[in-house]
Symmetry: C2
Subunit: 449 residues, 2 copies
Amino acid sequence: MKGNRTRHQVVIVGGGFGGLQAARRLGRAPVDVTVLDRYNHHLFQPLLYQVATAILSPGDISAPIRGVLRSRNTLVLLAEARSVDLARKVVVSDGGEIPYDTLVLATGATHSYFGHPEWARFAPGLKTVDDAREIRERLLLAFEAAEREPLPEVQREWLTFVIIGAGPTGVELAGALAYMTRHSLPRDFRRVDTSKARILLLEGLPRVLSTYPEELSLKARKDLEKLGVEVHTGSMVTGVDDQGVYVGDTRIQARTVLWGAGVAASPLARTLGVPLDKAGRVKVEPTLAIPGHEDVFVIGDLASLVQDGKPLPGIAPAAMEMGRHVAKNIRRQLAGQPMAPFRYKDKGSFAVIGRGTAIGVLYGRFRLSGKPAWAMWLGIHITFLIGFRNKLAVLFDWAYTFLTGRGDVRLITSLHADKLPPILPPRPPEKVEAVRVAPVPGSEPIPVH
Amino acid sequence: MKGNRTRHQVVIVGGGFGGLQAARRLGRAPVDVTVLDRYNHHLFQPLLYQVATAILSPGDISAPIRGVLRSRNTLVLLAEARSVDLARKVVVSDGGEIPYDTLVLATGATHSYFGHPEWARFAPGLKTVDDAREIRERLLLAFEAAEREPLPEVQREWLTFVIIGAGPTGVELAGALAYMTRHSLPRDFRRVDTSKARILLLEGLPRVLSTYPEELSLKARKDLEKLGVEVHTGSMVTGVDDQGVYVGDTRIQARTVLWGAGVAASPLARTLGVPLDKAGRVKVEPTLAIPGHEDVFVIGDLASLVQDGKPLPGIAPAAMEMGRHVAKNIRRQLAGQPMAPFRYKDKGSFAVIGRGTAIGVLYGRFRLSGKPAWAMWLGIHITFLIGFRNKLAVLFDWAYTFLTGRGDVRLITSLHADKLPPILPPRPPEKVEAVRVAPVPGSEPIPVH
């Protein structure tokens, strides 16, 4: 074994599912591992929509990366990688250059606005904790604004929600929002009936959850409609602003628009100067190394690999398997052995639609829907959650939500006076009285004691 | 009873401990109640320092106001009250004027920088959820910056924390931070020893927690010092900037400064045009009404009332009692009965110092400290937490923290490249090698399988 000064330096960029697995599996290897991430926490992204819809707290689904990676050969640094210089073997970060002997890139994907970056501020997407908080705040604020709004037509706009894209994120958001408006919120409002809120799910393709078999897409659509979601497939959004969207020439007035559509690889990929696929992902060899660069691996959503004629799916289990595989190949390289090709074993995938309903495919063959699919989805997510505490805390929050039917992490923490409508006074003028829910007729004076 | 059109309108400004109690007690009275708050949630402020120190999530200690106040005569509006016009009997809000028949002001207090508002951005105080997140992010970021920092003298500045003011908030923050640096964090860092972090608690008065008996102040000081906090009493801060503070002419270099000092009443008080005390609180009659205005009540931290020669303390139990009392007086007024004077019954108060230690006074006579005081503090806080879910979630988080010794809501969710130092490369130049913790000597190559 070499001395410390010349230990082999493995640099891993990204503390998501792939990067974390790679780092863990190298925790006892004779290398120095440096993990860079621009956030200090690993995020269990599959449940992020539950933060956005006020069911879970951000802390429930995240864990500090340095708390997870406590091997003494592993250094965790809060830093943003800006580019990679393959020739000089350095990662250029916001804190300077970090040299590597072996590099693992696992910076994942972000949302793409199909060439319309100006839509981003009107229709936030869901990738980070701050994204989830922003969406949560917008959703909650819309109901608060509706309760204040004196004009019925504007009130309807506040109670109209458009979700663009019916992939897993869009479907999850639509389903959770439908539940929120129909079950959690109605009793809390006096002037508006939140159960009348319109939730429109717009999808450009002919069906929802289009990576699943057609039969399951149809079931998902029916379940969404049963929950109260208006599903519009084949509906390409052509414009987004702060008061609604255009689908072709049709205008939909809505004060809240959310983005669940396109995915684009992290921009770090473009700095490599190697071939990328259409979504900007790095085309990798079956070993997961970049062609011609056996010292640079790319994994997770940032990697593009075709297996049996199909691209690998951008889901957490695939990223985790790749992370483990890269750790194995690095150890093989160090031992002078040839690298092994990666083979993804598809155990299955699930998409949740709403409380008590989901769809899923197991081992590429068994198709599930409704309650059984949801029960499996629940079990899988609890099992995979990293860290003891998170599991129990999430179980607890979920149990509460199901017992009471109310998500309760309803926090608006910033001030929004600029966005809110004028208030209909508690004693409103005669003509708009109709908007108002009548006060309790049966309430009696209580004797003073 | 009058018809709905002319129901008596009670407007309550503020959804804190006082406002919430008043609204609840009027929930079945023959009045319309409107509650205004600029936030949508009630905050259990006594535990906010645990959010700031990454032990609890904001959702654990807050509850949506409209979820708490679900009586059908009660309307909750997200709105900021800007002034009160006593002559015209309207509250001027960001959404327009809201007329009242009876007004209850319960907007509490904010921190005061003793005439130095420019210190606020260098030394954040702790009143809102966003304040707590800001402090949490600054604390966590300081350790991340220290881990990156190549220069030992700057590293020491990142590991120096100054807390100004040794009232309950300052003491709580100092104690929790000491625990964090000594117990939760050390194993997670490689290049710095967080247990060497300096925590300075600066107090202008001669002792800490000066509203408590001197004997308890001394015990608190000893406990703080045992936890690793450097307590400096009689130390008036004369300057604050982004790299430290001045105490008189003495400079203390510190990259993180927190504010736990002065309290000032909410600025709404000044718009009333009635006599205020030195801290800007409204002087109220024993009925809790403003002198000469029997239709306007002021409660909680916004009210100034001297009882038995002593001002009422600005604590949650006092605010809650005042809220209940005002509801009673309003019902008496409606029934044509004379109002009752308020009498605060001091059941006691506690200040927590750190894990397992606190001080407290019960019924003005029994003095507690150490573990017994802490156990009582714990029980009282759990009992008072509003809402079933919160109680259990907090219990759970606390239990976790005590079992593992680690707070785990360690979230940095914004990007801070501009604030972070350059990175000492993983393979640093010879001369600074000493800064680095040596890699594991005993780690062996793992056979590839």
